[in-house]
């Protein structure tokens, strides 16, 4: 579990890095055509002049971290260049709170930068910085550096480190410290207040172009909040103060390093992060919101509601916003309606939950989990296409009536019966018109129902009796150059069962004792005795069966791609004799 999160985290991070590198390379090519260095997270282009009518000098490439370091050596800090507002929040802008006119801005930079550099020169520093008259040392063209930074954010672990920290003061009369960062604007009092259990992500108010009464945009909010606090901690000589440089949060390699550290920490905690103290539900019953219907209208056909294990998913995601996007205050169905709404970007509820390639849809995220080497052996070989398989609908959309038929905890190992549970009364899993399943209106009632339905899910991976699994399968249909291959069939099945033992995603979705078999015995009906490979993969020449592998290729592709996907390096694909011994003659 922890390992998977690490891998997912790291690969996500790498992905972001790659994306940023590509995007950035394009954007930056406008700024820098020579960009020889590998890209800096702290490069700031000072383009005050860009706001003027005529171009006077090329923009200045300012290396922020180089300055932070130089200042630290002189025992100075952020406040040498950044001023604080009356609330004590440090400004994101250089030496100012608000932007003056372009000309004044130019003077501001020139005066302050050169004054400091001149003082350095007077103090006979080794590298005092460019002096008055050395215009081209700052105004360089073409640019020599490239900027590559990745957008930062609070993932679950970073969040935990903050709310668990003793260095951050507790909220008044509480033993949590959430209110030190989370706030809301109180219209009546006209001030920022903290309301427990209503905490929101920063992004919900501090957007790129915030609307009144929100004052600061996202980067101003983040930098003001984080840097001010980190700086205060440093001034107070706290044992830890958090980063004050750019690269620690926005540098690719630094982020990867941090992710690795977090993964280690998670491992120490047995892979389980304590849940956020926000009173979030353990379970939710996801059901479409019915549009306003006239009295006599026919009710649209709806799928059964989906019991959603919120607690479990908190552990499996990087941050709340992975699913909740901007705000925690509305439910999925508020924006993603049956027909789609402007708020939800016209993404219908159905797409929001099922889009196979979206990271924030249920199906998309589950698909991503299948890339785990333990799962990929089977799943990478399965065509994924654009829709989840219809047979899986009933795994999530459960008829609540089932509770009446089966008391909680009673799990059947008889899979004929089990199938019945999955596909209740209506074979297509849909509700009959006019007989709607009664879903409680209140949150608590729905949560309780969801919990009971979740409880019905199999707690362990299902499998047919071990003795019913063929032990060693001899593949000799094609023996010609080599001796027949002996496939350790049962051993393979049992080792895969072992891998998915503790994985609730796998145990829920491998819904019958023979689902597992489908990994190899694809396209054949669920059965304890699936048809043999030859029944579909014959040995005829390729003509007439374009695209469906012949028997020889079918075996090879199946075995080898599974080994590759599961990261099994032995035997090598070209080591023929490790599977079939050479014929002696």
């Amino acid at each position: 579990m922890a390992y998977r999160k690490l891998v997912l985290g790291l690969s996500g991070c790498l992905f972001v890095l790659v994306c940023v590198l590509f995007l950035q390379a394009d954007v930056m090519s406008m700024i820098s055509s020579s960009g020889k260095d590998s890209g800096r997270a702290d490069l700031i282009m000072i383009q005050a002049i860009a706001k003027q009518a005529t171009k006077q000098a090329p923009p200045v490439q300012f290396l922020h971290d180089a300055h932070t370091e130089a200042l630290a050596e002189q025992d100075k800090d952020c406040s040498s260049c950044h001023v604080k507002d009356e609330g004590g929040t440090i400004s994101y802008k250089y030496m100012r709170l608000e932007d003056p006119a372009a000309n004044r801005l130019k003077d501001l930079y020139h005066d302050n930068c050169t004054t400091c550099h001149a003082e350095n020169a007077k103090a006979r520093m080794d590298n005092p910085g460019p002096q008055i008259g050395e215009c081209r040392k700052c105004h360089v063209e073409p640019a020599t550096h490239t900027q590559t930074w990745i957008s930062s954010g609070m993932d679950n672990m970073l969040h935990y480190i903050h709310w668990d920290s003793d260095l951050i003061a507790k909220d008044e009369g509480k033993d949590t410290n959430c209110g030190q960062c989370h706030h809301e604007y109180d219209e009546d009092k006209q001030e920022l207040v903290y309301i427990q259990f209503a905490e929101e992500g920063c992004r919900s108010c501090h957007t790129a172009e915030p609307k009144e009464p929100v004052k600061s945009n996202l980067s101003e909010a983040f930098h003001g909040q984080c840097v001010t606090c980190h700086l205060e901690n440093k001034e107070a000589q706290a044992e830890r103060n958090g980063p004050l440089d750019c690269a620690s949060c926005h540098g690719g390699p630094q982020r990867l390093e941090m992710q690795a550290k977090f993964a280690e920490k998670l491992e120490e905690m047995d892979g389980v992060l304590p849940r956020l103290p926000r009173n979030q539900p353990d379970a939710v019953l996801l059901a479409a919101k019915l549009p306003e219907l006239p009295e006599d209208a026919t009710r649209p056909t709806l799928m059964y509601p989906v019991p959603f294990n919120h607690e479990l998913h908190e552990q499996a995601t990087d941050a709340c916003r992975d699913c909740h996007h901007e705000t925690l205050k509305s439910s999925c169905t508020d924006c993603h309606t049956l027909q789609g709404s402007e708020q939800g970007g016209y993404i219908t509820l159905e797409r929001a939950m099922h889009a196979p390639d979206s990271k924030s849809s249920c199906v998309g995220c589950h698909n991503e989990m299948k890339q785990d080497p333990s799962c990929a052996g089977c799943h990478a070989a399965m065509p994924r296409g654009t829709e989840p398989p219809a047979s899986s609908c009933a795994l999530c959309h459960v008829n609540p009536d089932i509770l009446a038929q089966r008391p909680a905890g009673q799990q059947s190992m008889d899979y004929a019966d089990y199938t019945e549970m999955l596909i209740p009364a209506q074979t297509d899993g849909r509700q009959p018109a006019g007989e709607p399943v009664v879903v409680p209106e209140d949150k608590e009632g729905r949560a309780a129902l969801a919990l009971r339905l979740i409880d019905l899910r199999p707690k362990e991976a299902l499998l047919i009796a071990e003795e019913d699994i063929p032990d060693v399968v001899k593949i000799d249909v094609l023996a010609d150059e080599y001796q027949p291959a002996e496939l350790p069939h049962r051993k393979i099945v049992m080792s895969m069962m072992e891998k998915m033992k503790d994985d609730s995603l796998a145990t829920t979705f491998h819904a019958t004792p023979v689902t597992m078999c489908q990994g190899c015995h694809h396209n054949s009906p669920l059965s304890k005795t699936p048809p043999s490979c030859q029944s579909c993969h014959d040995q005829r020449s390729q003509e007439g069966r374009l695209g469906r592998p012949g028997l020889l290729a079918a075996y090879h592709i199946q075995c080898m791609s599974c080994h590759t996907e599961m990261g099994l390096e032995e035997p090598a694909a070209t080591d023929c004799t490790s599977c079939h011994k050479q014929k002696e003659n």
Binding site: G385, S541, Q542, E543, L546, G547, A553, I557, A573, T574
Partner: protein, 364 residues
């Protein structure tokens, strides 16, 4: 006449063909908005399946009765060096190291729909056959080797070691064997244990490739190499890594060789498809001459030396003499220097048994 039947094929697929005499012009005009040779056969190579076993190389060698290779086909060490086709090897599998591990790609003649080799050949030794194979007729070939310079994939190679009847050698798509009924599939396709290659109608292969893209999102670079490259090829490639990373040139454009250079000389009748590439090629010839000459020399020498291992020492001396003689006729002094260097290098590699042979050669 094969050339005409090829053009006829183009005409039939594109626009109606009035008379064979105006065929080149009609075909060229039609080529502008022409999008594919629908029912001609082709081969789809799926790079995500190839495991680099060299069974296709072995099959090719057998089917075409090519000489036994220096390195046996079950030696996979050789994949660590980059190889190209030569006169005794019509196909090679190369290994490419990528961030996600090694990737293998088979290389052979792509059997272009409008082959540059054929356009550049003024005696029509190359013909695009209706079964997609680009055929070579050694009886008319004059050995000018323009085809080698014209081919954007650097495929045709020359039998330097044959003093009297040297031929241009390249993959034949097993055309001869399939036409005679000896084979039902090209040898390499037949033998691949992974079905990394599929033989079938080109349009169906294109559809199949797209079906694979759809069924396995993220697995492939969703593009089919050879669909449009150089006006399209009968050999198609799909890959999980960018094509340039598996040694496929991505700078070729979608225009076929005849179309590329047709404009300037459109008034030249009948041979319009031939001369432009030839003339346009002169620039390329000058540029690549030196490189190819050096390569040729090295190949000539190593081929001759390899032969000598099996034959008597006198034969070696004679062959070398001939090889060098014919080489001398073609290259300037600078290249000669390269020969000597190559020979000196070879000498080190030869064991005591061959030492005397090398001495003879050096003593000349």
């Amino acid at each position: 006449m094969k050339r005409r039947s090829f053009l006829g094929l183009m005409g039939a697929a594109g626009a109606g063909l009035a008379a064979p005499a105006v065929a080149p012009v009609t075909a060229r005009a039609a080529a502008k908005d022409f999008r594919g040779y629908h029912d001609t056969p082709g081969v789809l190579f799926d790079g995500t399946r190839c495991i680099g076993c060299r069974k296709c190389e072995l099959a090719c060698n057998k089917v075409n009765s090519l000489p036994e290779p220096e390195v046996p086909f079950d030696n996979l060490e050789i994949l660590n060096s980059r190889r190209r086709t030569d006169s005794a090897t019509f196909t090679v599998v190369n290994k490419f190291d990528t961030p996600t591990g090694p990737v293998y790609r088979k290389n052979q003649c792509n059997h272009c729909l409008e082959p540059a080799c054929a356009s550049s050949c003024f005696v029509s030794a190359f013909q695009k056959n209706s079964d997609s194979a680009v055929d070579y007729d050694e009886t008319v070939c004059v050995g000018c080797r323009y085809c080698m310079i014209a081919c954007p994939f650097e495929i045709p190679t020359y039998e330097y070691h044959k003093a009297f009847t040297p031929r241009v050698m390249k993959c034949t798509l097993c055309g001869p064997q399939m036409r005679s009924g000896e084979l039902r599939l090209p040898g390499c396709v037949q033998e691949c244990p992974m079905e990394a290659m599929i033989y079938g109608p080109r349009n169906e292969l294109l559809n199949l490739a797209r079906r694979r893209f759809a069924a396995f999102p993220g697995r492939y670079v969703e593009q089919i190499y050879g669909e449009h490259e150089m006006g399209g090829t009968s050999w198609l490639y799909i890959s999980g890594t960018p094509f340039s990373q598996v040694g496929l040139r991505e700078d070729l454009g979608t225009k076929s060789a005849p179309e590329l250079t047709a404009g300037a000389l459109a008034a030249v009748p009948v041979v319009v498809g031939v001369w432009p590439v030839l003339l346009g090629g002169i620039y390329a010839i000058n540029k690549r001459k030196e490189k190819i000459a050096a390569q040729e020399q090295q190949q000539a020498v190593s081929a001759a030396l390899a032969k000598a291992n099996a034959e008597a020492k006198e034969t070696l001396a004679a062959t070398l003499a001939k090889a060098e003689e014919s080489a001398n006729r073609r290259v300037d002094n600078e290249v000669k220097k390269a020969v000597k260097e190559a020979l000196a290098k070879k000498e080190e590699e030869l064991k005591a048994a061959e030492a005397s042979a090398t001495d003879e050669e050096e003593g000349k």
